[in-house]
Each structure stands twice: as C-alpha cells, then as structure tokens.
C-alpha cells in the first residue's frame, strides 16, 4: 500500500480527534445547563457543531488527505446549500411568524 502513511501519525490522530470531539460535546452540554441568552446559546452551539463536523470530515473521513477535486465536490454543494437555506427559507419562516401574530 503506497498511501498507508499519508494519514499522518496513524492511530494517534484518531485519538486526538476523538478527544476533541468529546471536549466539544461536554462544552455543548455545559453551555445548555448555564443560563445564557438564547441568541448567544444558539450561535455558540452552531459554531461548536460545525467544529465537530469539520473534525469528523477532515480526520475520521480522511477528506483532509484526499485530492482537492474531491474536497471541492463534497464541500462546495454544502456551502451553496447553506447560503440558499439562510437567504431564502429563513426569511420566509420569519414572515409566516409575523403573519400569525
């Protein structure tokens, strides 16, 4: 296998990824149990979710070590998806909320 070692430090990288995933999960639960304003809570949770997602995709799913063409194939549609959802669907939902009142 020519590409056996291109994953960096072998098993160690998975242990480190696993450790940080658990740390972020504990932080997520901690911030829910603390009473912080809803907006800050939501923002912090979403940021932490994306951090976890990044760790899983980059290291567990190995995308960090794949060819750039594959990275773009996977990541670019997700960016478009997020932009479209936030710019078109979210305003509609808020509009319906205002109509209901």
């Amino acid at each position: 296998m020519a590409e056996t070692e291109h994953g960096g430090g072998g098993y160690r990288v998975y242990a480190v990824t696993w450790f940080w995933l658990l740390v972020i999960t504990v932080l997520e639960l901690a911030i829910v149990l603390l009473h912080v304003p809803k907006i800050i809570l939501a923002a912090a949770l979403v940021i932490m979710a994306f951090l976890k997602a990044g760790l899983i995709v980059a290291y567990f799913m190995h995308l960090k070590y794949e060819k750039l063409s594959l990275v773009y194939t996977v990541v670019v549609p997700m960016v478009f998806l997020a932009v479209i959802l936030f710019s078109f669907v979210a305003p509609d939902a808020i509009h319906v909320f205002r109509l209901r009142r």
Binding site: G10, L29, V32, A49, I56, F60, T73
Partner: protein, 196 residues
Amino acid sequence: MSSSDWEGGKSPFGIGWPKLMMWLFLVQDTLTFAGLLTAYGVMRLSLGRWAVQAEVFNLYLVGAMTFILICSSATMAVAVSAAKRGDHRKVSTYLLLTTLGGLLFLGGQYIEWTHFIHEGARLFTNPWGIPQFSATFFITTGFHGFHVAAGVLYLLVTLWRWNRRSIQPESVEIAGLYWHFVDLVWVFIFTLLYLI
C-alpha cells in the same frame, strides 16, 4: 484539462469508483437530512414557540448516546487504519467494537422513544400542545436511527466478509465513511433538536 484526460486510465479524484460513489451518496444523503432539519427550523421559527426540550428529554441519556456514537466513530477509524496496514485481527476487533457502539446507541434510542411515547407523544399529537414537536422528533430521529440500524447491518456484513478475506481494505474504508456520516448527522440532530 488536456485531451488526454478524456482518454481513460486517469483517476480525476484520485480514488477508486466504489469510494467515489459512497462520497456522492453521502452528499445526497446530506440533502435528505438537510431537508428534514430545514422543515424543523421553518416550523419552529414560524410557530414562535416550542416545547422545552430539557424538560421533555433526558439530556444525560442523549449525552451518553452522543458519547457512544463518537467512540464508535473513533473505533471505526482505527479499524480502517488497521485494514490499510494489513493488521487483520485488529480490524475484526475494532469492527466488532464499532458494531457494539451502534447497538448501544439504538438501545438508548429505544429507551428514549419508549419514555417519550409513555409521556403521551404520538406522531401528530402530544401533551405539550405543539403537534409539530413530536412529529419532528419521531421523523428526524427515526430516520437517523434507521441509518444507524442499516449501518450496524452493513458493519456486520463487512466484518463477516473481512474474516472470510473476501474484501479489500478499501471496502472497510467505504463502510467507515458511511459510519462516520451517521455520526456527523447526529452532531447536527443533537445540537438542533435537543440543545437549541
């Protein structure tokens, strides 16, 4: 891109087609879950009210399920790495551990659903007076649970075939991609459905 790129024998993504197909499947499966979570977001935003999840669900149980799924994802990564190194026995052991994690997660989900149904939650009605609340919960976690159950079967088949030495390390890696994706989706379900 030169004309020689079209003459075959090149691998534009630098991976074999089975792995590429799994990646493309996962991209489209992301859209499925994005659809479910978007529907949830639209309903919750437009209603302007929702049940207090911390009072309905046991966050410690959900936290434990999250912990188990992250651990099983890590053991899967080790199995994939061991397969590439040709460490045959280690692959079997870690595939088995991963499967066990999946089964534990499903057990947690069984407890959670049972509790939720005992509280009076049904697909379109519930005691909290927000029908969309239980519908979202059942459909989204149900769809994810179905993915976990399918993943457990997939892992068992992979384990069986690996022990018969009828598959290449790449097949273990592809099973791994699917399993990590299940964990990845849970990150967002856990955050959006339970915590926010």
